[in-house]
Amino acid sequence: MTLRARIVVRRPAFRLDLDLTVGRGEVVTLLGPNGAGKTTALRALAGLIPLTEGSIELDGVRIEREPAERRPVGVVFQDYLLFPHLSALDNVAFGPRCQGRSKAEARARARELLDRMGLAEFSSVRPRRLSGGQAQRVALARALAVEPRLLLLDEPLAALDAHTRLEIRSELRRRLTAFDGATVLVTHDPLDAMVLADRLVVVEDGAVVQEGAPGEIARRPRTDYVARLVGLNLFRGEGDGDRVTVGGLAFAAEERVSGPAFVAFPPRAVALYRTRPDGSPRNLWEGRIDGVERHGDHIRVHVDGPVPVAADVTPAAVAELDLTPGRRIWVSVKAAETHAYPA
C-alpha cells in the first residue's frame, strides 16, 4: 500500500475532510464540482499547505510534517507555473538538478522527456512563447523528471487538444504503470477520469460522496453531480421488490431492490410523445418542456414534471413533435435501460 492519508484542511468558509488510499501503481482520480476542494487536497498532499488535522503516510513513512521539497512528490499545477526565466529544457532539468545530478545528466534526462512529449524542437523556448498545450506538456515533463513516488496532477490534460491528449494520456499511463508510485489526479473531464483512473473518488463540498471503479460509478451514480457527469438521470426513492417509487411515480427496473434505492437511466432511454401513448403504463408520466439543447448529433430535451428528466432525441423528432419550451409532453422510460440499486 503506497499512500494512506487523512486530509483535513479548514478554511474560513470551507472544510475539507478526505480519507484517501492509493495502492502501488494505482491511479486515483479526484472528481468533483468547482470549489469542491480537489486542488486544496493536492496542495496538502504536496506539502504546500499544512494539514489542520490528519496524516499522510507514503510507503509506510509519515510525511505530513516534511516540507514540500523533501516529499518524493511530483506536481503538475492547474496553471502550469513554468519558470518564466528558464527555457523549456531547463524547466524540466530543474528537478533532476535539485536531486544532485550533474548539469549534463539533468539536461540529457530533460531532453529525453521533452522528446517523448513531442516537444524536442521547443527545448530552448521560454514558456511565454509556448502555446497553452505546449506549456502543459512541459509541466508534465517537469513533474515526471524527478521520478516521484507520488504523482499529483491538477487537470493535467485540460489544455491539450484531442490528438495530443490521446498520446499524452497513453504516455502517462505507460509511465504510471512503469513505476511503483501512487498517482492522484484531478480532472473535470469524465472521459479522462474514466480512461485514466483505476479508481474514482468523487468529492463534493470537501467530502467524499462516492468512490469506486469508474465503470461501477458510471453505472450506479449516487449523487446528482455524478449522474450528470456520466449523463444519467438519477433519482432516489423507495424500492418494493420490482419497482422503485419516486415522487409518486413507480419505476420498473432491471434489478429488484427493497428499501431506500436509486434509479438511474440514460437520456437515450427516455421517449417523448405528444399524446398519451398506448401500451404498458409503467414509467409513464406527463411533463413540461423546460429547455432544448443541441448535444452532438442529437438534441437533449429537459422535461419538468413529477421528476425532472433529460431525454435525447433526434433532430427529426424535435421538428416532428414540435418540442419547444413550455409545451406539455408525455414521457416514458424503457425499463430495460433503467437500473435500480440500494441507496
Partner: protein
C-alpha cells in the same frame, strides 16, 4: 522630466568647458574617479550580499520584530549622512564599540581607510537595495516558489534559481539605486573615512574641496562623475535588460 533635465542643462551651460581637458588630466581627479567607482561597486556588492537575504527575510518570512526590523532598515536613509558617519565612528572607530576590539584582535582599523569608505557607502546605500528588493519580492508570485519546492529544491535553491531570477528587474533597480547612492555619498564618507587623496578621497569629496577653492572646477568634476556614471549605467542596463529578454 524637464524638472530633472533642466538643472543639468544649467550646469552644462555654466561649465567652463575650456579647462575641462586639462582638469581631466590631473592625476588626483583620475585617482578620485577610480576610487569612487571601485568603492561604490564594492559597496554595492556588499549591499547585495547582505541586503538581498535581508529583503527576503522581510518579504517572505514572519517573525516577531519583523516590522521593527523593517523600520530600522530605513534608518540610514533618514539619518543625515554626517550623523551616520559619526555613528559609524562610534562603533568602528578606534575607540568604538567594535573598532576597539577589531584593533586589539587584528591590529586593524576601519576609519580613514579605503575599506572605511566602502563601509560608509554601504551603510548609507543599503536601505535602497533592501527596500527595492523587498518591493519586488512582494510583487512576485509565490506560487513559482511552491512549484520549485515540489521539485525538491531547498529553500536556498528556490531562492537562488527561482526567486532571484524572477525578481531580477527589482534587484537590478535596487542595485542601480544603491550604486548611484554610493557613488554620490559624501557626508558619511568624509566623517568616517576622512578625505585622503588616493585613499579615501572619492569624487564627491574632491568636488567639496574644489568648491572651497574653485567653484567652477567643482562643476566640471561633478559633470565628469555624472558622465561616467551615466555611461556605465546605460551600458549595464542594456546588457542586463538584453539578457533578461
Amino acid at each position: 522630466m524637464a524638472f530633472l533635465v533642466l538643472p543639468l542643462a544649467g550646469l552644462l551651460i555654466r561649465a567652463p568647458w575650456s579647462t575641462l581637458p586639462q582638469r581631466l588630466a590631473e592625476p588626483q581627479v583620475i585617482e578620485a574617479l577610480r576610487l569612487s567607482l571601485v568603492t561604490a561597486s564594492v559597496a554595492t556588492v556588499v549591499c547585495l550580499v547582505l541586503g538581498v537575504p535581508l529583503a527576503w527575510l522581510l518579504a517572505r518570512t514572519d517573525f516577531p520584530g519583523r516590522r521593527l526590523l523593517r523600520a530600522l532598515v530605513t534608518v540610514p536613509l533618514v539619518l543625515p549622512p554626517v550623523v551616520g558617519g559619526v555613528a559609524l565612528l562610534l562603533v568602528f572607530g578606534r575607540r568604538g564599540l567594535v573598532g576597539q576590539w577589531l584593533e586589539s584582535a587584528f591590529g586593524f582599523s576601519l576609519p580613514f581607510t579605503t575599506a572605511g569608505v566602502v563601509v560608509a557607502e554601504a551603510f548609507v546605500a543599503m536601505p535602497f537595495l533592501v527596500i527595492a528588493v523587498e518591493g519586488a519580492l512582494r510583487a512576485a508570485d509565490p506560487r513559482y516558489e511552491e512549484a520549485a519546492a515540489t521539485l525538491g529544491a531547498s529553500r536556498f535553491t528556490v531562492f537562488r534559481r527561482v526567486t532571484l531570477p524572477l525578481v531580477a528587474p527589482g534587484v537590478l533597480a535596487g542595485a542601480v539605486l544603491c550604486w548611484a547612492r554610493a557613488l554620490g555619498e559624501f557626508g558619511a564618507t568624509i566623517t568616517f573615512a576622512g578625505n585622503f587623496p588616493g585613499r579615501t578621497q572619492t569624487m564627491p569629496l574632491a568636488v567639496y574641496l574644489a568648491l572651497e577653492t574653485e567653484p567652477e572646477a567643482a562643476i566640471v568634476l561633478s559633470l565628469v562623475l555624472l558622465a561616467v556614471s551615466v555611461v556605465i549605467l546605460a551600458g549595464l542596463r542594456d546588457r542586463w535588460v538584453g539578457a533578461a529578454a
